[in-house]
Symmetry: C2
Subunit: 572 residues, 2 copies
Amino acid sequence: MRTTQYLLATQKETPSDAEVISHQLMLRAGMIRKLASGLYTWLPSGLKVLRKVENIVREEMNKAGAIEVLMPVVQPADLWEESGRWDKFGPELLRIQDRHQRPFLLGPTHEEVITELVRKEISSYKQLPINLYQVQTKFRDEVRPRFGVMRSREFLMKDAYSFHLDSDCLEKTYQTMHQAYCNIFDRLGLEYRPVLADTGSIGGSTSHEFHVLAESGEDAIVFSNGSDYAANIEKAEALAPEGERPQANEQLNKVATPNAHSIAEVSELLKVDHKQTVKTLLVVGANDEGEAEGVVALVLRGDHELNEVKAEKFPEVFAPLTFAAEEQIKQTANCDAGSIGPVGLSVPVIVDYSAAHLADFVCGANETGFHLTGANWDRDINNYKTADIRNIVEGDPSPCGQGTLSIKRGIEVGHIFQLGTKYSEAMKAGVLTESGKHETLTMGCYGIGVSRIVAAAIEQNHDKYGIKWPAAIAPFQVGILPMNMHKSHRIPEVANKLYQAFQDAGIDVLFDDRKERPGVMFADMELVGVPHVVVIGERNLDEGKVEYKNRMTGEKQSLEIDQVFDFIKNLL
Amino acid sequence: MRTTQYLLATQKETPSDAEVISHQLMLRAGMIRKLASGLYTWLPSGLKVLRKVENIVREEMNKAGAIEVLMPVVQPADLWEESGRWDKFGPELLRIQDRHQRPFLLGPTHEEVITELVRKEISSYKQLPINLYQVQTKFRDEVRPRFGVMRSREFLMKDAYSFHLDSDCLEKTYQTMHQAYCNIFDRLGLEYRPVLADTGSIGGSTSHEFHVLAESGEDAIVFSNGSDYAANIEKAEALAPEGERPQANEQLNKVATPNAHSIAEVSELLKVDHKQTVKTLLVVGANDEGEAEGVVALVLRGDHELNEVKAEKFPEVFAPLTFAAEEQIKQTANCDAGSIGPVGLSVPVIVDYSAAHLADFVCGANETGFHLTGANWDRDINNYKTADIRNIVEGDPSPCGQGTLSIKRGIEVGHIFQLGTKYSEAMKAGVLTESGKHETLTMGCYGIGVSRIVAAAIEQNHDKYGIKWPAAIAPFQVGILPMNMHKSHRIPEVANKLYQAFQDAGIDVLFDDRKERPGVMFADMELVGVPHVVVIGERNLDEGKVEYKNRMTGEKQSLEIDQVFDFIKNLL
């Protein structure tokens, strides 16, 4: 591609509304443009990367035996009523009406549509297992779209759905998909980790997320240094402390703690370690029907953080987890939020294992401006249950039993689920078994955020000059940069010949044939992130040479004109 | 692909709600399934064809210098308010609201979005011309979706938009696109015609449609036998008859024509040729603001048909053309619709050239049950204007001046337009010229219905057994059909080896490894339309041979086992 016949659309200025580096660089490198909140047009360079990612995903899915289909973006509401998600799904589900006022939605995911297809097309165990996928435009009406295509409303996704007679068969396909995902991220050239994950609103049992590692990642991922255990922090189990709880030695004593609201302030005032305090959080409770009713107290050690995903799994806690309003706190504990404590509370109390392992601890006195010291479980508080409801912290023992845990940041780009029968049961999708019995199908589902991968790759691979693309997904593999081409006849001759050679070899090559200053052209090549650049200038040509520059390593070297093609071709 | 590891999904029964053959065959051959009215899931075989069409379109667009982008499906309403189409577009435009009640739409076309992009990205004449395209899912909320993917609500389209400094430059790109479209349809292996077309609601001046010829086509296309003139019947000009109008000889005479309402009945009763009668149609008129007001009379020769597209271009006719209601007819002509005539009408009268060339003709008497004979223009009717408002009929002289016209049926699969400044003016998209002046951009747009091509190809290429795919877009190029494979060891050996060879050569091959009766397998291969089929049976193997069958020609021949691969490879 010649830049004069292309829409390079690079920008010098960093757009003010782009918070993260990938969003900034995608705008500056001419990859995307915002049409409206969370809606982006992919410009030529961006689309080239998107398609390369898509193709790698497709090839590996095909190799893994999955079969490609294409479902509509617009889905009828009745299928979602059957599955129960029409009501359950929040406002991220964009509900629309057609000209006849019939209800439809823009698909954020396709479990219902694929189950509808499969229950009509698959009737016998002989047709199983089957794994169907698509690469398709999806829509989620995010309340606050941000980070460019990282959290946009319209996005490109690969979603696969497998169907099985039983969970053993599902497990096999799940492992095949796990491996296919590893192959995909290997080929993309990204540093990534598969981690144990919570199944969330999609439902099901086992689940893994695939994260691209990047300091800017929204998710915390937990790793063991003694094994290959890795999990999303939402899911990572915090073990109960070993050994017996220490004996109670102190008397319960109420102390004034005026203006001390946080754990830090209380610890400072009373000269105790954070680890010797507990914090008590009141959240909305749930009745037997799962409706919001009453309040539940969650107790954590002062230095620990609540894990909302773990907490909201308890039947007595309303999901999604909701903190009690000021009024409810007043009614329950008769004090401000900063002075709540478990002693004397008449609501259900769930205590994190680590908090439950303390003796003689400090807690709120349920009286504004006062705390208790020397509090002890079972002596001062009787009605409570213990559980894991906190986030892992660095140094915690690994739940696998080997090593301790550390935390890294990641960007979720893939997610695989063992769904089980959640959708097939609700939608009555089954087959006849070999013995002629009707059996409900067992399902798996497997997603990859294709457009999100593009942003994640940039978060992981950039420097102050721009993007450093892994070769497999660079918009252009090779750049040709002739300096002051319009003042020379030798330079265009060499440049054109080289351009032709790369084109003939089917290599994506960007030939910057603009009448621009060399500085501008260098900056654009670096910004766009072309991995291999050939610089053609008079001085080098005098010696029969051109300059080669590697974007990833920054290395430069002089090469003979007729060697440069082979040299680069060997690198690809 | 092995059928046992595939979703072949063929059906024996013809679905009752599929009216046209392509819809029936796409369902029966396992290409698509209906999700809801006008919404289809593409099954594996259908998607394979769709992607092959898409790729050919993409390759030829790239060769023609167009640059690919990808715009969102969901578009903000404000851009359509700028262009004026938010109000003008009918209910086919699906208007939606997001969670914040902001108005959006599902894009049926992308003129507004691309103009918004270009007015921001292109500021100088140096960046012109530019031709940007996408292959993307579109939505049109058809009032009555039908014919499967031929007229569905969600569909895949390639749409390109070019931008220029002036119309000479547009004309050049328009010709390039015209040629690219010819290349595309040539490569697809379809019989097609580019024809002159009306520009319709998209606007602009020059326009061509590309039609796949098929008897079942919805459109009539007009061809000259003396030149390469071809036009959509909506557009094809009917020339005024040559020579002088004959003299008036008869007296105007009112005759009773009880129960004769149609031209056929009146002609029969009065023993005159249809060609010696006129019919008078009353349609809704328009005032200076283009609002519906009053009635206009359209007069045609009895054997001719009104061309609504031509008629609604007259400022005095309301667009879209609407026939007058019974009440309006009574008020205007004081009679039933069957007895209207131009004599004595006090509304504007537009007379088709052919009707205006008659003397001594028969027309309605504006009195129910009566007609006039011996009517003559200028003597009996004074206030009228003449124009071309009829459809061409077979044998009419060609408007190009050479030859006469014939009519064929076609399916519109592509449409190219010289838009001019319609959108760029409304949306203020311009550039600075070389002399530093601001100039409004001139635009072209170029569409291809990718999913529709799949259906059109079938309408043109099928027989009673199924689809006869052109090789370039067949879901599978080669089929391997082993007979009673499970009772033999030689057959699977030969079949597997051949399958492997085709796979290794990158040829799309379908290996029917099911335990089905040969009859079922033959029927499926023919239904799916695999162009080249290798049948492997015991009897042939005894002689070291297999049978080759060509789907398009029906020819069969015996071939040596080790020749069949090369034989087929040479055909591809």
